[in-house]
């Protein structure tokens, strides 16, 4: 199972969402889908129509920049980090 590390700012928006979660998925998109199955609504916060990752949501798989289509290995670490933006 992949280890997903989620932003702390996301937790208050999705009841029960942990900071770290272990889920199955062969791509980033499948991992997010799996998260959404356990914590409904998280996919809508991370993804937009396309489908695609939201513009200011960055994902890395084992330290490499990723998209929804990026493969995720069985023991990968997936970081989800909001971009530096805003004001």
């Amino acid at each position: 199972m992949a280890l997903v590390i989620l932003p702390r700012s996301l937790a208050p928006l999705v009841p029960g969402l942990p900071h770290r979660a272990s889920v199955d998925g062969e791509t980033v998109g499948e991992v997010i889908h799996a998260l959404d199955a356990s914590w409904p609504g998280v996919a809508d916060r991370l993804c937009e129509a396309g489908p695609a990752l939201r513009q200011h949501i960055n994902v890395w798989v084992d330290g490499e920049p990723a998209t929804l289509a990026t493969p995720v290995g069985p023991s990968a670490t997936v970081h989800v980090i909001p971009a530096i933006a805003g004001g």
Binding site: S9, L10, P12, L13, P15, P40, G41, D44, R45, L46, E48, A49, G50, P51, R54, Q55, H56, I57, P82, A83, A85, G86
Partner: protein
């Protein structure tokens, strides 16, 4: 049970609840709520006692928050709030309005969504998006946004919506089809005679107890209609500016509305000459009365956005407005005199006033 007056305030950095007793003299602030989300519109459904707040985050996208405990806790959902994978991406919710047991959301890019489960899920009202004029819709400076939703008070199949730089539309069949309602409204930013669509309506309100009587604050003037928007008459005369955003209608008197003229669109969009004032008409727009007692008379370069003015239903009526500098002002005498309610909020984007017993 004690009666409380709550001002629901949507800001660039979350929602706040500012409350007082019915005397409207001593205010306390709760917040920020909604996790710092920019809140474009905050509203209340008196039928269910649920608060709704709509907005859009640069990181987490558009959504609608709901609270069942007077704003103490909130949940959010944007399930179904999409044009689909082949459609444009929704950036924010600009209006949330309850109507006849449902909830409507206006979004940007302009469109209308409906929820029948209290904002837990949404369905696209395709009839408006598929309007024959859609290909001609161009965004204004604030974007292509559906910002005003005005339900008919008794007929659930009728509703008006307003879209910046596109105009007002009415449906009489529950949203399946829509007709433009812009005749008589100027569109001075384009050559030629006023078009069927393309007017930049900023705020649309309905007169109290008069289901065919509407007012609008437009980019190019202030207007009234006595026939459900089929024809509009300009009522800008005597106002210091034709430009502005916010407007509020009296809860009982159809001839009284308040608005806040601002300096021109290329001239700053703030209180004219730096002198804060709220104007009201008590005769349907034939004449306007300036109200500025207690407001800053100099160096007040304040802007007030389209959803940032509201009134309560007390007698005399209380009127409230919030500025883009985070100042919230209130009047307990229908706008004749004013005082600062709180001056240290984030930029204020929406204000609503409700009475509750708790």
């Amino acid at each position: 049970m004690a009666e409380r007056l709550l001002l629901l305030v949507g800001t660039k950095k979350g929602a706040f609840i500012v409350e007082s007793g019915p005397d409207r003299k001593s205010w306390t602030v709760r917040g920020p709520s909604c996790e710092g989300y920019p809140i474009q519109d905050i509203n209340w459904d008196p039928a269910t006692s649920v608060m709704y707040a709509g907005g859009g985050s640069a990181w987490y996208g558009p959504t609608v928050f709901r609270s069942v405990d007077l704003g103490r806790t909130w949940t959010q959902s944007s399930d179904g709030l999409t044009y689909g994978d082949d459609g444009p991406k929704i950036s924010a919710v600009w209006s949330v309005t309850p109507a006849h047991g449902a909830l409507y959301a206006g979004v940007g890019p302009a469109g209308l969504f409906r929820s029948d489960d209290g904002a837990r899920s949404w369905q696209h009202v395709e009839g408006l998006t598929n309007h024959p004029t859609r290909s001609t819709w161009q965004p204004g400076a604030g974007g292509l946004i559906l910002h005003s939703i005005v339900p008919h008070p008794t007929d659930a199949s009728r509703m008006w919506v307003a879209i910046s730089a596109v105009g007002t539309f009415e449906t009489v069949d529950g949203g399946a089809s829509w007709e433009p309602r812009n005749r008589g409204v100027r569109a001075d930013f384009q050559p030629g005679p006023p078009p069927e669509t393309g007017q930049c309506v900023h705020k649309l309100v309905m007169a109290a107890g008069e289901s065919e009587h509407l007012y609008q604050q437009n980019h190019c003037g202030v207007y009234r209609s006595l026939d459900g928007g089929k024809h509009w008459d300009e009522i800008t005369r005597d106002l210091p500016s034709e430009f502005g955003f916010a407007m509020a209608a009296h809860p009982r008197d159809p001839l009284t509305v308040w608005n806040i003229p601002l300096s021109g669109p290329e001239e700053g969009r703030f209180m004219p000459d730096g002198q804060a004032a709220v104007w009201r008409t008590e005769d349907g727009g034939d004449n306007w009365i300036r109200g500025d007692a207690g407001l800053p008379r100099r160096d007040a370069y304040l802007g007030v956005l389209r959803e940032a003015m509201a009134r309560d239903d007390l007698d005399p009526v209380g009127v409230y407005f919030g500025t883009s500098t985070g100042h919230l002002y209130g009047s307990a005498d229908g706008g004749a005199s004013w005082s600062a309610v709180v001056t240290t909020l984030p930029p204020i984007w929406s204000v609503e006033a409700i009475r509750v017993d708790e």
